[in-house]
Point group: C2
Protein backbone atom coordinates (compact mmCIF):
# COMPACT_ATOMS: atom_id res chain seq x y z
CA UNK A 1 0.00 0.00 0.00
CA UNK A 2 1.07 3.56 -0.73
CA UNK A 3 2.48 5.48 2.23
CA UNK A 4 -0.43 7.33 3.87
CA UNK A 5 0.34 10.76 5.36
CA UNK A 6 -0.19 11.33 9.08
CA UNK A 7 -2.65 14.11 8.27
CA UNK A 8 -4.79 11.63 6.27
CA UNK A 9 -4.84 9.21 9.21
CA UNK A 10 -5.88 12.07 11.52
CA UNK A 11 -8.78 12.90 9.21
CA UNK A 12 -9.87 9.23 9.09
CA UNK A 13 -9.97 9.24 12.92
CA UNK A 14 -12.09 12.40 12.80
CA UNK A 15 -14.48 10.97 10.17
CA UNK A 16 -14.97 7.88 12.34
CA UNK A 17 -16.02 10.11 15.25
CA UNK A 18 -18.61 11.93 13.13
CA UNK A 19 -19.93 8.60 11.81
CA UNK A 20 -20.31 7.25 15.35
CA UNK A 21 -22.20 10.41 16.26
CA UNK A 22 -24.47 9.78 13.26
CA UNK A 23 -24.94 6.11 14.25
CA UNK A 24 -25.92 7.16 17.77
CA UNK A 25 -28.56 9.43 16.24
CA UNK A 26 -29.89 6.59 14.08
CA UNK A 27 -28.90 8.05 10.70
CA UNK A 28 -28.00 5.53 8.01
CA UNK A 29 -26.29 7.52 5.24
CA UNK A 30 -23.95 10.49 5.08
CA UNK A 31 -22.68 12.54 2.13
CA UNK A 32 -19.05 13.48 1.55
CA UNK A 33 -20.22 17.12 1.80
CA UNK A 34 -21.53 16.51 5.32
CA UNK A 35 -18.36 14.67 6.43
CA UNK A 36 -16.30 17.51 4.93
CA UNK A 37 -18.36 20.17 6.67
CA UNK A 38 -17.97 18.50 10.06
CA UNK A 39 -14.27 17.91 9.52
CA UNK A 40 -13.53 21.44 8.27
CA UNK A 41 -12.29 20.12 4.91
CA UNK A 42 -13.60 19.72 1.33
CA UNK A 43 -15.71 16.90 -0.11
CA UNK A 44 -12.95 16.30 -2.69
CA UNK A 45 -10.53 15.74 0.21
CA UNK A 46 -12.95 13.30 1.89
CA UNK A 47 -13.32 11.29 -1.33
CA UNK A 48 -9.55 11.29 -1.87
CA UNK A 49 -8.85 10.19 1.72
CA UNK A 50 -11.28 7.29 1.46
CA UNK A 51 -10.17 6.30 -2.07
CA UNK A 52 -6.81 5.10 -0.66
CA UNK A 53 -8.69 2.20 0.89
CA UNK A 54 -10.96 1.09 -1.95
CA UNK A 55 -14.33 2.23 -3.18
CA UNK A 56 -16.99 3.48 -0.81
CA UNK A 57 -20.40 5.04 -1.28
CA UNK A 58 -22.67 5.43 -4.29
CA UNK A 59 -22.77 8.59 -6.36
CA UNK A 60 -25.78 10.62 -5.25
CA UNK A 61 -26.59 8.33 -2.32
CA UNK A 62 -23.62 9.04 -0.04
CA UNK A 63 -21.94 6.58 2.29
CA UNK A 64 -23.64 3.94 4.40
CA UNK A 65 -22.91 5.04 7.99
CA UNK A 66 -22.55 1.52 9.50
CA UNK A 67 -20.51 0.18 6.57
CA UNK A 68 -18.12 3.11 6.44
CA UNK A 69 -17.62 3.21 10.21
CA UNK A 70 -16.90 -0.54 10.33
CA UNK A 71 -14.40 -0.15 7.50
CA UNK A 72 -12.72 2.85 9.16
CA UNK A 73 -12.37 0.92 12.43
CA UNK A 74 -10.66 -1.89 10.48
CA UNK A 75 -8.38 0.55 8.65
CA UNK A 76 -7.39 2.23 11.91
CA UNK A 77 -6.70 -1.11 13.58
CA UNK A 78 -9.48 -0.68 16.12
CA UNK A 79 -10.97 -4.17 15.77
CA UNK A 80 -8.75 -5.44 18.60
CA UNK A 81 -7.34 -4.51 21.98
CA UNK A 82 -4.00 -2.69 22.12
CA UNK A 83 -1.74 -3.05 25.14
CA UNK A 84 -0.09 0.17 26.27
CA UNK A 85 2.59 0.99 28.85
CA UNK A 86 3.46 4.45 30.17
CA UNK A 87 7.09 5.44 30.71
CA UNK A 88 7.27 8.09 33.44
CA UNK A 89 4.89 8.10 36.41
CA UNK A 90 4.63 11.91 36.64
CA UNK A 91 1.82 14.38 36.03
CA UNK A 92 1.36 13.70 32.32
CA UNK A 93 1.51 9.95 33.01
CA UNK A 94 -1.19 10.33 35.67
CA UNK A 95 -3.42 12.40 33.38
CA UNK A 96 -3.12 9.75 30.65
CA UNK A 97 -3.68 6.83 33.02
CA UNK A 98 -6.87 8.60 34.10
CA UNK A 99 -8.01 9.51 30.56
CA UNK A 100 -11.38 7.90 29.82
CA UNK A 101 -11.01 8.07 26.03
CA UNK A 102 -8.38 5.29 25.84
CA UNK A 103 -10.34 2.36 27.22
CA UNK A 104 -13.37 3.37 25.07
CA UNK A 105 -11.18 2.79 21.99
CA UNK A 106 -9.60 -0.48 23.10
CA UNK A 107 -6.33 0.94 24.40
CA UNK A 108 -5.62 -0.85 27.67
CA UNK A 109 -2.90 0.53 29.95
CA UNK A 110 -0.99 -2.32 31.58
CA UNK A 111 1.54 -0.49 33.76
CA UNK A 112 3.63 2.61 34.25
CA UNK A 113 7.42 2.58 34.66
CA UNK A 114 9.61 5.00 36.57
CA UNK A 115 13.22 5.22 37.71
CA UNK A 116 12.31 6.86 41.04
CA UNK A 117 12.32 4.15 43.76
CA UNK A 118 9.80 6.19 45.78
CA UNK A 119 7.22 5.80 43.00
CA UNK A 120 7.89 2.13 42.20
CA UNK A 121 5.43 -0.26 43.85
CA UNK A 122 2.76 2.44 44.16
CA UNK A 123 -0.28 2.96 41.95
CA UNK A 124 -0.80 5.70 39.40
CA UNK A 125 -4.57 6.16 38.92
CA UNK A 126 -5.07 2.46 39.67
CA UNK A 127 -2.20 1.32 37.41
CA UNK A 128 0.90 -0.34 38.94
CA UNK A 129 4.18 1.61 38.83
CA UNK A 130 7.16 -0.64 38.15
CA UNK A 131 10.91 -0.07 38.10
CA UNK A 132 12.37 0.75 34.70
CA UNK A 133 14.97 -2.00 35.22
CA UNK A 134 12.19 -4.58 34.74
CA UNK A 135 11.03 -3.19 31.40
CA UNK A 136 12.77 -5.66 29.11
CA UNK A 137 11.69 -8.70 31.13
CA UNK A 138 8.07 -7.48 31.39
CA UNK A 139 7.83 -6.65 27.68
CA UNK A 140 9.06 -10.14 26.76
CA UNK A 141 6.29 -11.60 28.93
CA UNK A 142 3.36 -9.22 28.44
CA UNK A 143 4.03 -8.05 24.88
CA UNK A 144 2.72 -4.48 25.04
CA UNK A 145 2.16 -2.92 21.61
CA UNK A 146 2.62 0.77 22.34
CA UNK A 147 4.83 2.76 24.74
CA UNK A 148 3.77 6.25 25.83
CA UNK A 149 6.78 8.36 26.83
CA UNK A 150 6.09 11.06 29.42
CA UNK A 151 9.55 11.48 30.98
CA UNK A 152 11.32 14.89 30.92
CA UNK A 153 12.84 15.99 27.60
CA UNK A 154 16.43 15.21 28.58
CA UNK A 155 15.57 11.58 29.43
CA UNK A 156 13.24 10.92 26.48
CA UNK A 157 15.75 9.57 23.92
CA UNK A 158 17.34 7.11 26.34
CA UNK A 159 13.87 5.96 27.42
CA UNK A 160 12.88 5.41 23.78
CA UNK A 161 16.11 3.46 23.25
CA UNK A 162 15.13 1.13 26.12
CA UNK A 163 11.64 0.72 24.64
CA UNK A 164 13.09 -0.10 21.21
CA UNK A 165 15.60 -2.56 22.66
CA UNK A 166 12.76 -4.29 24.52
CA UNK A 167 11.06 -4.88 21.15
CA UNK A 168 8.16 -2.41 21.12
CA UNK A 169 7.36 -1.07 17.64
CA UNK A 170 5.26 2.03 18.35
CA UNK A 171 5.71 4.96 20.73
CA UNK A 172 3.81 8.13 21.52
CA UNK A 173 6.16 10.82 22.82
CA UNK A 174 4.97 13.70 25.02
CA UNK A 175 8.42 15.11 25.77
CA UNK A 176 9.01 18.42 23.91
CA UNK A 177 11.90 17.04 21.88
CA UNK A 178 12.45 15.24 18.56
CA UNK A 179 13.32 11.54 18.99
CA UNK A 180 15.11 9.13 16.69
CA UNK A 181 14.22 5.45 16.21
CA UNK A 182 14.98 2.66 13.73
CA UNK A 183 12.84 2.58 10.56
CA UNK A 184 10.68 -0.31 11.81
CA UNK A 185 9.57 1.64 14.90
CA UNK A 186 6.84 4.31 14.54
CA UNK A 187 7.23 7.30 16.85
CA UNK A 188 4.67 10.11 17.06
CA UNK A 189 5.39 13.22 19.09
CA UNK A 190 2.50 15.06 20.72
CA UNK A 191 3.61 18.62 21.24
CA UNK A 192 1.24 20.60 23.43
CA UNK A 193 2.89 23.92 22.57
CA UNK A 194 2.35 23.09 18.89
CA UNK A 195 -1.37 22.75 19.58
CA UNK A 196 -1.39 26.22 21.14
CA UNK A 197 0.54 27.55 18.13
CA UNK A 198 -2.37 26.51 15.94
CA UNK A 199 -4.45 28.94 18.01
CA UNK A 200 -1.93 31.80 18.09
CA UNK A 201 -1.72 31.40 14.30
CA UNK A 202 -5.52 31.69 14.06
CA UNK A 203 -5.56 34.75 16.35
CA UNK A 204 -2.97 36.70 14.31
CA UNK A 205 -4.20 35.60 10.85
CA UNK A 206 -7.92 36.09 11.10
CA UNK B 1 -5.24 35.60 2.91
CA UNK B 2 -6.33 32.19 1.67
CA UNK B 3 -7.61 29.85 4.38
CA UNK B 4 -4.66 27.76 5.56
CA UNK B 5 -5.37 24.14 6.54
CA UNK B 6 -4.65 23.00 10.10
CA UNK B 7 -2.26 20.38 8.74
CA UNK B 8 -0.21 23.15 7.06
CA UNK B 9 0.01 25.10 10.32
CA UNK B 10 1.16 21.93 12.11
CA UNK B 11 3.92 21.47 9.57
CA UNK B 12 5.02 25.12 9.97
CA UNK B 13 5.32 24.53 13.74
CA UNK B 14 7.39 21.42 13.03
CA UNK B 15 9.66 23.25 10.53
CA UNK B 16 10.29 25.96 13.13
CA UNK B 17 11.46 23.32 15.60
CA UNK B 18 13.93 21.85 13.10
CA UNK B 19 15.20 25.35 12.24
CA UNK B 20 15.76 26.13 15.92
CA UNK B 21 17.67 22.89 16.25
CA UNK B 22 19.79 23.98 13.25
CA UNK B 23 20.33 27.45 14.77
CA UNK B 24 21.48 25.88 18.03
CA UNK B 25 24.02 23.87 16.05
CA UNK B 26 25.25 27.03 14.28
CA UNK B 27 24.11 26.08 10.77
CA UNK B 28 23.11 29.00 8.54
CA UNK B 29 21.25 27.43 5.59
CA UNK B 30 18.88 24.52 5.10
CA UNK B 31 17.46 22.94 1.94
CA UNK B 32 13.79 22.11 1.42
CA UNK B 33 14.97 18.48 1.06
CA UNK B 34 16.44 18.54 4.55
CA UNK B 35 13.34 20.18 6.07
CA UNK B 36 11.20 17.59 4.27
CA UNK B 37 13.34 14.70 5.47
CA UNK B 38 13.11 15.82 9.10
CA UNK B 39 9.37 16.46 8.84
CA UNK B 40 8.58 13.17 7.09
CA UNK B 41 7.17 14.98 4.05
CA UNK B 42 8.31 15.93 0.50
CA UNK B 43 10.36 18.95 -0.58
CA UNK B 44 7.48 19.94 -2.91
CA UNK B 45 5.21 20.04 0.16
CA UNK B 46 7.72 22.20 2.07
CA UNK B 47 7.95 24.68 -0.81
CA UNK B 48 4.16 24.75 -1.17
CA UNK B 49 3.63 25.29 2.58
CA UNK B 50 6.07 28.21 2.63
CA UNK B 51 4.78 29.73 -0.63
CA UNK B 52 1.50 30.66 1.11
CA UNK B 53 3.46 33.30 3.00
CA UNK B 54 5.58 34.83 0.24
CA UNK B 55 8.88 33.90 -1.30
CA UNK B 56 11.67 32.32 0.71
CA UNK B 57 15.03 30.86 -0.15
CA UNK B 58 17.15 30.93 -3.29
CA UNK B 59 17.17 28.13 -5.82
CA UNK B 60 20.22 25.97 -5.19
CA UNK B 61 21.15 27.79 -1.98
CA UNK B 62 18.30 26.74 0.26
CA UNK B 63 16.75 28.80 3.04
CA UNK B 64 18.58 31.09 5.46
CA UNK B 65 18.02 29.46 8.86
CA UNK B 66 17.75 32.70 10.91
CA UNK B 67 15.56 34.47 8.32
CA UNK B 68 13.16 31.58 7.87
CA UNK B 69 12.85 30.91 11.59
CA UNK B 70 12.16 34.61 12.31
CA UNK B 71 9.52 34.63 9.59
CA UNK B 72 7.90 31.42 10.85
CA UNK B 73 7.73 32.83 14.38
CA UNK B 74 5.93 35.90 12.99
CA UNK B 75 3.55 33.77 10.92
CA UNK B 76 2.72 31.59 13.94
CA UNK B 77 2.13 34.65 16.14
CA UNK B 78 5.04 33.81 18.44
CA UNK B 79 6.55 37.31 18.57
CA UNK B 80 4.47 38.17 21.66
CA UNK B 81 3.21 36.73 24.93
CA UNK B 82 -0.13 34.88 24.94
CA UNK B 83 -2.24 34.76 28.08
CA UNK B 84 -3.84 31.41 28.78
CA UNK B 85 -6.40 30.20 31.33
CA UNK B 86 -7.23 26.57 32.15
CA UNK B 87 -10.84 25.51 32.69
CA UNK B 88 -10.90 22.47 34.98
CA UNK B 89 -8.37 22.00 37.80
CA UNK B 90 -8.13 18.22 37.44
CA UNK B 91 -5.36 15.87 36.32
CA UNK B 92 -5.08 17.11 32.74
CA UNK B 93 -5.18 20.71 34.00
CA UNK B 94 -2.37 19.92 36.43
CA UNK B 95 -0.26 18.24 33.75
CA UNK B 96 -0.68 21.28 31.47
CA UNK B 97 0.01 23.81 34.24
CA UNK B 98 3.24 21.88 34.87
CA UNK B 99 4.21 21.55 31.19
CA UNK B 100 7.52 23.27 30.53
CA UNK B 101 6.99 23.67 26.78
CA UNK B 102 4.36 26.43 27.16
CA UNK B 103 6.41 29.12 28.86
CA UNK B 104 9.31 28.46 26.46
CA UNK B 105 6.99 29.49 23.62
CA UNK B 106 5.49 32.57 25.27
CA UNK B 107 2.27 30.96 26.51
CA UNK B 108 1.74 32.21 30.06
CA UNK B 109 -0.87 30.49 32.23
CA UNK B 110 -2.69 33.07 34.38
CA UNK B 111 -5.11 30.93 36.36
CA UNK B 112 -7.20 27.76 36.47
CA UNK B 113 -10.98 27.73 37.06
CA UNK B 114 -13.06 25.03 38.68
CA UNK B 115 -16.63 24.64 39.95
CA UNK B 116 -15.56 22.50 42.93
CA UNK B 117 -15.41 24.78 46.03
CA UNK B 118 -12.80 22.44 47.59
CA UNK B 119 -10.38 23.27 44.77
CA UNK B 120 -11.07 27.01 44.59
CA UNK B 121 -8.51 29.14 46.46
CA UNK B 122 -5.84 26.42 46.24
CA UNK B 123 -2.93 26.25 43.82
CA UNK B 124 -2.54 23.92 40.86
CA UNK B 125 1.19 23.57 40.14
CA UNK B 126 1.75 27.10 41.41
CA UNK B 127 -1.21 28.57 39.50
CA UNK B 128 -4.23 29.98 41.41
CA UNK B 129 -7.51 28.04 41.17
CA UNK B 130 -10.52 30.37 40.99
CA UNK B 131 -14.28 29.80 41.04
CA UNK B 132 -15.90 29.51 37.62
CA UNK B 133 -18.46 32.15 38.68
CA UNK B 134 -15.69 34.78 38.48
CA UNK B 135 -14.70 33.92 34.91
CA UNK B 136 -16.53 36.73 33.11
CA UNK B 137 -15.33 39.41 35.52
CA UNK B 138 -11.71 38.17 35.42
CA UNK B 139 -11.65 37.92 31.62
CA UNK B 140 -12.91 41.50 31.29
CA UNK B 141 -10.04 42.63 33.53
CA UNK B 142 -7.14 40.34 32.55
CA UNK B 143 -7.99 39.74 28.89
CA UNK B 144 -6.68 36.19 28.43
CA UNK B 145 -6.30 35.18 24.77
CA UNK B 146 -6.74 31.42 24.95
CA UNK B 147 -8.85 29.08 27.11
CA UNK B 148 -7.76 25.47 27.61
CA UNK B 149 -10.72 23.22 28.41
CA UNK B 150 -9.92 20.15 30.52
CA UNK B 151 -13.31 19.49 32.16
CA UNK B 152 -15.12 16.12 31.68
CA UNK B 153 -16.79 15.55 28.30
CA UNK B 154 -20.34 16.15 29.56
CA UNK B 155 -19.42 19.61 30.91
CA UNK B 156 -17.23 20.72 28.00
CA UNK B 157 -19.83 22.43 25.79
CA UNK B 158 -21.31 24.49 28.62
CA UNK B 159 -17.78 25.47 29.70
CA UNK B 160 -16.95 26.58 26.15
CA UNK B 161 -20.20 28.58 26.08
CA UNK B 162 -19.06 30.45 29.22
CA UNK B 163 -15.66 31.10 27.66
CA UNK B 164 -17.26 32.44 24.47
CA UNK B 165 -19.69 34.62 26.40
CA UNK B 166 -16.75 36.07 28.36
CA UNK B 167 -15.23 37.15 25.04
CA UNK B 168 -12.32 34.73 24.50
CA UNK B 169 -11.70 33.96 20.82
CA UNK B 170 -9.59 30.79 20.94
CA UNK B 171 -9.94 27.53 22.86
CA UNK B 172 -8.02 24.27 23.06
CA UNK B 173 -10.32 21.41 24.05
CA UNK B 174 -9.04 18.23 25.72
CA UNK B 175 -12.47 16.70 26.41
CA UNK B 176 -13.14 13.71 24.11
CA UNK B 177 -16.14 15.38 22.43
CA UNK B 178 -16.82 17.65 19.47
CA UNK B 179 -17.65 21.24 20.49
CA UNK B 180 -19.54 23.99 18.68
CA UNK B 181 -18.66 27.68 18.74
CA UNK B 182 -19.53 30.83 16.75
CA UNK B 183 -17.54 31.40 13.54
CA UNK B 184 -15.31 34.08 15.10
CA UNK B 185 -14.06 31.68 17.81
CA UNK B 186 -11.37 29.11 16.92
CA UNK B 187 -11.66 25.79 18.75
CA UNK B 188 -9.11 22.99 18.39
CA UNK B 189 -9.75 19.61 19.96
CA UNK B 190 -6.80 17.52 21.14
CA UNK B 191 -7.89 13.94 21.14
CA UNK B 192 -5.42 11.65 22.88
CA UNK B 193 -7.13 8.49 21.61
CA UNK B 194 -6.75 9.88 18.07
CA UNK B 195 -3.01 10.13 18.64
CA UNK B 196 -2.93 6.46 19.65
CA UNK B 197 -5.00 5.59 16.57
CA UNK B 198 -2.19 6.98 14.43
CA UNK B 199 -0.02 4.26 15.99
CA UNK B 200 -2.54 1.42 15.74
CA UNK B 201 -2.93 2.39 12.07
CA UNK B 202 0.86 2.16 11.62
CA UNK B 203 0.99 -1.22 13.41
CA UNK B 204 -1.69 -2.84 11.22
CA UNK B 205 -0.66 -1.22 7.91
CA UNK B 206 3.10 -1.67 7.86
Amino acid sequence: MKRIADSTVRRLSAYLRFLEDFEARGLSTISSDELARQGGTTSAQVRKDLSFFGSFGKRGLGYSVPELSTRLREILGLGREWRVIILGAGKIGAALAHYEGFRQRGFQILAAYDSNPEKVGRKLEGIPVRGIAHLERDVAKEKPDIAVITVPADAAQQTLDLVVRAGIKAALNFAPTQLHAPADVTVKTVNMAMELEGLSFALVNR
